[in-house]
């Protein structure tokens, strides 16, 4: 079995694990990263979202082999960035966090959305976040947070 090599949170790592393991389990159990969460295990809820080469993916559906030679970023690393600070301030300001189990995945979705569209319309935000379920907030406050982040963080994305 060939070891799998990928960049995790800006560090080159090599793991000797079954290639069909779910990336989510590798992150949580092997690397002890508690940011990605398992909400459904079937790719519907987005609580396990991470960035793969800058794009959002559900880590519960991704076999480890698929990240070979690629860049995986979890909330733990993204939270050190300037863009995260802007999103965090906006989410806290607008009350976008309740129970918080969807939040790391939601923040990853916001980053991925703003990467593609730094100034999204209301409708674009609602479509952009529709792969991340939240049962607490009703979404309004999260949508407002994205708008605030986009305006406060102008030039960052």
């Amino acid at each position: 079995m060939k070891a799998i090599e990928f960049t995790l949170n800006d560090e080159l790592v090599t793991v000797d694990l079954q290639p069909h393991m779910r990336l989510l389990d590798v992150l949580r159990e092997h690397f002890l990263l508690t940011g990605p969460k398992e909400g459904c295990g079937e790719g519907e809820c987005g609580a396990c979202a991470v960035l793969l080469d800058g794009h959002i993916v559900n880590s519960c559906l991704l076999p480890l082999a698929n990240v070979h030679k690629r860049h995986v970023t979890t909330i733990e690393h993204f939270s050190r960035s300037k863009r995260y600070q802007v999103i965090e301030e906006a989410m806290i300001y607008e009350g976008g966090v309740q129970c918080g189990i969807c939040t790391p995945g939601m923040v990853i979705a916001i980053e991925s959305l703003l990467n593609k569209d730094p100034n999204p319309s209301d409708a674009a935000i609602r479509i952009g976040l529709s792969g991340n379920l939240c049962r607490c907030t009703g979404y309004n406050m999260i949508v407002k947070a994205v708008k605030r982040a986009a305006s406060k963080g102008e030039g960052l994305w």
Partner: protein, 771 residues
């Protein structure tokens, strides 16, 4: 007020957003045994024989538990005050399985793969029995869901298991039938609500270990840690002092975690093997094998005079509790007690009904707790009555609904399993809620409908609602607060933050009482060893009940601090003023930091602390008016929710952003129940909608606009004027949407969810009738 009624950031939001270790599964020991449950493929069966020999022989399997291996002691999983109003009708494991997904046996293995392999190797010989699936046929059915003799109620709740009755009740004020007969206009209609799923994003999760003091320590994603400790102790015969339950961050509950789910099995495994164990429900298990909302049929009859005076309400409710009677009576009671007092001026009112066992997934607590079901029926029927009377539905409500200073006999008659508590509405801004909502939605321009194009209409609909604030004389909350050197505080509370932000709310209340900034109040909650008792997060009780406990404890600590400052300043305590930072007299002062350091290290040393508790003497209802605007296609019945306006009287919102979050989150869950969330079974009783693909909850794309406002209101009995706000948001959407659909197309949908199919079907029926 410096802190209360201000939006302060939640005390824990940042750490959780970064993904720091916070939730139950984050605390599982790395070497935990994985506990998995073999679940029944049959809606009703008796286990003739079960062969677990292959599973036991499998390498890596540490334990297999069947009904032969556990004490046979009936209990209820419902996390409620003791003695519970729910029947003790459940066994840890039983020879009977009563729904598809019920527990057959449990295994513990070194990893998930081995545990799953062990489950597959187990051979069960089932005697398949005829199930009871149609809840309207359950009473006195030949098939009896609970034939066993050794189950019981804790006090009279109408429990007759041989008749498939988990509970029954009736009350009547005056002679309803006589008043209905005298009424000029009568409306009678039946309404059906579905088994809504909670779909909290964190599945039910629990893990256990034996600590260095040889005690069983659980981390559990629960709304009721103290009830979990008690029920484990009673059922497993482990002395209560040997058990510690810690509730870490909970990823949503909504009532679904007001019960034990995996706690019994991980405890059994850890107690027997001495090894740590964990259980995380799969999403399918969350759907099939935890809790749902109680489906109900509600038959309602309203009588009114031509002048628009409501004279009588007659309400019969039939509730389906599924295989076990958890929360059976109490949810049913709330369908009356927190709905019917909305129209308190009637001459006669009756509420009666039955809660039946069926072979479906057990129903349990779910935000709204009966009130959403009752509200859908009553507020739909009110609109039907207005149509018949040809009276504006808002004018009718304003004339007949409850107002400040008034009461309803129902408060005294109906409690949750016991008698209720009489109370006057010290705060009820329902009229303001209604009038403000009317203006915000633009009712006068939009009611009943506006044509958009050939096929499409825009229409508005509305409903009013009430809830409660805790369960009076039963549910108690408590708090301890201590002063540390350097002048900051630790607040420990039994109250259970499940994501609603109660840690922040309670810190704000303490901070207000101590004139302290919120960051000087460090909150730790819900640990049966370290925090004082609280019943937990349910019945919209935390802000009101636990909040009052915090207020008392903080005020008492403040007194003690002033006493100590007076000693140092050598004056009487009445001449000391405290602004949160400094104790001062006319000519002298000492800072809080100096006083706390002095008391800790230098002179007359002592720990200043205060503990207090609170049990409600009433349950002041929050009120709201909810208005929806929809756009609907008359050919396809498809519609969009364009806007939802909520105007809420929850007393003083302690933290306006968090209160808004509660209301809007509730609205969207209520819209889910009204519009999207289907719950259907196969003919053999298997749940069809058992994953997130087929069970559709609202996404950000489905919600276009939510507007939420709070009326000025101050509830004297609440902490700094607060009432509750956790549940009220969920109640109005079903009736408001049903009323909007009627206003658009003239069809009355009486069954949730209100799908395009149901609308088109109703339109066809209407067309046939018209022809």
């Amino acid at each position: 007020m410096k802190t209360v009624k201000h939006t302060v950031p939640s005390v824990d939001g940042k750490g959780i957003m970064m993904g720091r270790k916070a939730f139950t599964d984050d605390f599982a020991e790395a070497d935990s045994l994985v506990v998995k449950v073999l679940r029944s493929p049959h809606a009703f069966a008796r286990i003739r024989a079960i062969d677990v020999s292959k599973a036991r022989a499998l390498e890596g399997v540490e334990m297999v538990i069947t009904h032969h291996d556990v004490p046979r002691k009936p209990f209820t999983r419902a996390g409620q005050g003791y003695p519970e109003p729910s029947p003790h009708d459940k066994f840890i494991l039983d020879e009977y399985v009563r729904y598809v997904g019920d527990e057959v046996c449990a295994v513990a293995a070194v990893d998930e793969k081995t545990a799953n392999a062990a489950l597959k190797s187990i051979e069960v010989d089932y005697e398949v029995l005829d199930p009871v699936l149609a809840f309207e046929d359950a009473i006195d059915n030949d098939c009896v869901v609970h034939p066993e003799e050794d189950i019981h109620e804790m006090f009279p709740i109408g429990f007759e298991p041989k008749r498939n009755l988990a509970a029954a009740y009736q009350m009547e004020v005056a002679d309803v039938e006589a008043v209905l007969k005298e009424s000029d206009v009568v409306v009678k209609h039946s309404f059906y609500t579905q088994a809504q799923a909670h779909v909290m994003m964190e599945p039910h999760t629990v893990n256990a270990r034996i600590d260095y003091q040889n005690r069983l320590v659980l981390y559990s994603s629960t709304q009721t840690p103290f009830h979990v400790r008690r029920i484990l102790s009673q059922t497993l015969d482990v002395p209560m002092q040997k058990i510690r339950v810690i509730k870490p961050r909970v990823g949503g509950g909504f009532g679904g975690k007001q019960a034990l789910h995996g706690e019994m099995f991980v405890s059994l495994v850890t107690l027997k093997t001495g090894k740590p164990a964990k259980m995380v429900f799969t999403r399918k298990e969350v759907f099939e094998s935890s809790y749902t909302r109680h489906p109900m049929r509600i038959d309602i009859a309203l009588g009114a005079n031509k002048d628009g005076t409501l004279k009588a309400i007659d309400c019969y409710a039939l509730s389906d509790t599924g295989a076990y009677g958890e929360h059976a009576l109490t949810v049913f009671m709330v369908a009356g007690s927190k709905v019917l007092p909305l129209y308190n001026k009637v001459d006669a009112v009756r509420f009666h009904g039955h809660v039946v066992y069926t072979n479906h997934t057990p129903a349990g607590a779910y935000r709204g707790y009966g009130a959403i079901q009752g509200n859908f029926a009553l507020e739909s029927a009110i609109d039907m009555l207005c149509e018949k009377l040809n009276i504006d539905p808002l004018a009718f409500r304003r004339k007949n609904m409850i107002a400040e200073g008034e009461t309803s006999p129902i408060f005294e008659i109906m409690g949750e399993g016991t008698e209720g508590t009489a109370m006057n509405m010290e705060t009820c801004k329902l009229d303001e809620c209604l009038m403000r909502g009317k203006a915000l939605i633009g009712w006068d321009d939009k009611y009943p409908r506006v044509k958009v194009d050939e096929d499409r209409y825009r229409a508005v609909g509305m409903a009013i609602a009430m809830q409660g604030s805790g369960i009076p004389y039963i549910d108690m909350g408590s708090a301890s607060i201590k002063l540390n050197d350097d002048g900051f505080y630790n607040l420990t509370v039994g109250a259970t933050d499940i994501g609603q932000g109660s840690d922040t709310i309670l810190a704000q209340i303490a901070a207000e009482a101590l004139d302290a900034p919120v960051e000087k109040v460090i909150v730790y909650s819900s640990d049966t060893d370290l925090t004082p008792f609280d019943v937990g997060a349910y019945a919209s009780s935390t802000t009101y009940v636990s909040g009052n406990a915090v207020l008392r404890a903080a005020q008492s600590l403040r007194e003690k601090m002033i006493e100590e400052a007076a000693k140092v300043l050598n004056v009487s305590k009445t001449s000391v003023a405290f602004d949160g930072k400094t104790f001062s007299t006319a000519d002298n002062s000492i800072s809080l930091v100096d006083l706390s350091n002095r008391l800790t290290y230098n002179d007359d040393q002592k720990q200043l602390a205060a503990t207090d508790s609170y049990v409600g003497h009433k349950s002041p209802p929050p009120f709201m008016a909810g208005f929806v605007e929809i756009e609907i296609d008359q050919e396809t019945g498809e519609y969009d929710i364009l806007d939802y306006v909520s105007v809420v009287d929850c007393g003083v919102p302690v933290n306006p952003a968090l209160a808004r979050g509660q209301v809007e989150g509730g609205i969207v869950q209520g819209l889910g129940m009204a519009v999207f969330e289907k719950s259907a079974h196969t003919k053999k009783g298997r749940l069809i909608h058992n994953d997130m693909l087929t069970y559709k909850i609202p996404t950000s794309f489905d919600i276009k606009s939510l507007r939420t406002e709070f009326t000025e209101s101050y509830e004297k009995s609440g902490p700094y004027g607060a009432k509750s706000v956790g549940e009220i948001g969920i109640d109005t959407p079903p009736a408001a949407v049903a009323n909007a659909v009627y206003n658009a197309l003239g069809v009355r949908i009486n069954t949730l969810p209100i799908t395009p199919e149901r609308i088109v079907h109703a339109l066809h029926t209407l067309n046939k009738e018209e022809k």
